[in-house]
Amino acid sequence: MNKRVSVYRKEHFNAAHRLHNHTWNEEKNYEVFGKCNNPNFHGHNYELVVKITGEPGADTGFVIDLKYLSDVIKSNVLEKLDHKNLNLDVAEFADLNPTVENIAIVIYNILRRKIDEKFDLQVRLYETEKNFAEYPAS
């Protein structure tokens, strides 16, 4: 019998960013990214949902201790992103456009190194209530 269960931890952070492609001129950036290209930045309240899939342990009943998961997210992701300017303050976005897609990938890559390989990991990131990304795509 398949006993695999997914558990989720929600966290949130807020940050400034702008969408900008360094290899394009200003006109093309504005044409493609519109007001998201504002050189003075804008910002969002991001909501992060981290999904861990595995079998509940016989002794704890936990797939993973969600307090532990929360601590891992806080110390590795939120410390890096919360109240930051994604373009200026976060090394991963020095040459990477901080779209909700790319932020989700960056968060996944950070967490994948910290979460035991026996677990499946997926990251869902809301930029607004209406716009969100999931990585890896299922």
């Binding site: 949130h12 807020n14 400034a16 960013h17 007001k35 930045f41 910002g43 309240n45 109240h83 300017n85």
Partner: protein
């Protein structure tokens, strides 16, 4: 054919329109040192800005017009909020890009008060502003009811 004697119902009603914008800002008092700003405002003082999805609730009060059944046409209220508030704030840097916030602290409190000032002169004469409720995050919001 005389005009109706009573154009409005007697009851006063509130009508609220909810709108959204997102923006960058920082909490930083230029009169203070960097150290004092960091002590008072913590990570909100990040010189490179951070940002929020703001949710704005504009509540107006008035009597219901008999012919329309409206206090105000909510579509008209939405257009006024868009023209006089959202156009100036959405996808902007509150400290740098907004004329009516120049020289002011960009806290949620000040922003709510300034939104009231921007919008209230443009409301139709038959309604009055009741409150501006402004969410900075789903967990932090302010309400402003105008000058006492």
């Amino acid at each position: 054919m005389g005009l109706p004697l009573q154009k409005f119902c007697h009851s006063m009603l509130f009508l609220t329109r909810i709108e959204h914008f997102n923006a960058a800002h920082k909490l930083y008092n230029p009169q203070w040192t960097k150290e004092k700003n960091e002590t008072v405002f913590g990570k909100c003082a990040n010189e490179n800005w951070h940002g929020h999805n703001y949710e704005l609730h504009v509540t107006i009060k008035g009597k219901v017009a008999v012919d329309t059944g409206f206090v105000i046409n909510a579509k008209i209220l939405s257009k006024l909020i868009n023209e006089f508030v959202l156009e100036k704030l959405d996808h902007k840097n509150l400290n740098m890009d907004v004329d009516f916030l120049k020289g002011k602290m960009c806290s949620t409190e000040i922003l709510a008060m300034e939104i009231w000032k921007q919008l209230s002169p443009h409301l139709p004469a038959e309604v009055k502003m009741h409150s501006i409720k402004l969410y900075e995050t789903p967990r932090i919001f302010v309400e402003y009811f105008g000058e006492e």
